[in-house]
Amino acid sequence: MEENNIQELEEMRQQLNILQEKLDQQDIVNEKLLKSSMKSKMSWIVKYIIGEVIVIPILAIMLSGIYVMFNLPFYSYIYILLICVADIYMDYRINISSMKPADYEKNNLMQTVKKLIKMKKMRSYQTLFGFLLTCIWLFWLGYDMCHLTGVPNTELYNGLVHGCTIGMGIGGVIGLVIAYFIYKKMQSTNDEIIKIIEAIDDLKDNKEN
């Protein structure tokens, strides 16, 4: 009985060797993991755009308060509002509607790479125009703030005007810097996804070889 038992354990040992030999010949498959990490990489951009849609109306209301308080002409307000709406629309078109979830699952991911490269290009144009138009607005607003009409000429009010002008100028610059970093992060997200696609392609090549 004892001998049978030892034999059984020896059998198991041989079976384990068979299993491990089989496993040694296999590759670790992570194509699925790579594809899912591609999808999740873009998700922060979607959340950012949703954030824009929520925050910008609130900022628009606050800004309109400043326009009313200082009796500023509303032309520049309408101008910046139109730029913001156009920017949100372009963000949506470039980052969300141009890519579908199925694009990350396709067997031919080279189409997806082309879309991602086009996305980067469109984003660069959008950022460049956005920056220029916003700078125009900042100067325009600064000019209006320095040429106020119809407001009391008191020390307090003058102090408020100066403070707001400087604050909005600094805020504008900080906003542009933040926008630039967000743009860079979006571009690098696209680069990472392109690298992942290249890695998936490599995996496929290795399997075929």
């Binding site: 354990l9 040992r13 491990q20 296999q26 670790i28 498959v29 993991l33």
Partner: protein, 168 residues
């Protein structure tokens, strides 16, 4: 400074990949012996890889790498057996389905092994796997975290259980 950090990270990743490649069959064997389906095996495999990655910086080299990998793999699988909670992850997997009921002779042998071992308690499975790898009782005890005497006693009970299985 960032280049140095990046270089260290790349070196760690390369070292990690090397360890996984060299020990993948060990890790996968443990996972296979602790689960009943392909998805669960893949979940366990992924969890073990995460634990190895997190533990790599703390590995002091007091035991050899294979022993350390076994310790992490077994502890992960034994805890999972207790928790049986499915995480929301996309699992890594090997390119092989060991639960495939094909007529391949090697698959039949593997299935028989799986059948025998899966009837044991999780703790005993760990001991048997290490014993089948020709590890001495002392080393088995160090990996599992019990005394050598305890390993001897458990091995005796495991043999009895396996004997009863073959009688059934």
């Amino acid at each position: 400074m960032y280049t140095e950090i990046n270089n260290k990270m790349e070196a760690s990743e390369a070292y990690f990949s090397k360890i996984i490649k060299e020990n993948k069959s060990t890790i996968f064997t443990v996972c296979y012996m602790f689960s009943n389906d392909k998805e669960e095996v893949n979940d366990l495999f992924q969890n073990i890889l995460i634990n190895i990655w997190q533990g790599l910086s703390k590995f002091e080299g007091r035991s050899n790498m294979k022993t350390w990998i076994y310790r992490i793999s077994l502890n992960s699988c034994i805890s999972s057996s207790r928790k049986k909670k499915r995480d929301d992850t996309i699992p890594l997997s090997m390119d092989i389905d060991l639960f495939d009921k094909s007529n391949d002779e090697s698959n039949k042998q593997i299935e028989l092994l799986h059948k025998r071992i899966s009837k044991l308690q999780p703790f005993d499975r760990a001991i048997v796997l290490l014993w089948l790898e020709n590890m001495p009782y002392e080393e088995i005890g160090q990996i599992i975290g019990i005394s050598t005497r305890n390993v001897t006693v458990r091995m005796f009970r495991i043999r009895e259980q396996l004997k009863n299985m073959s009688i059934e």
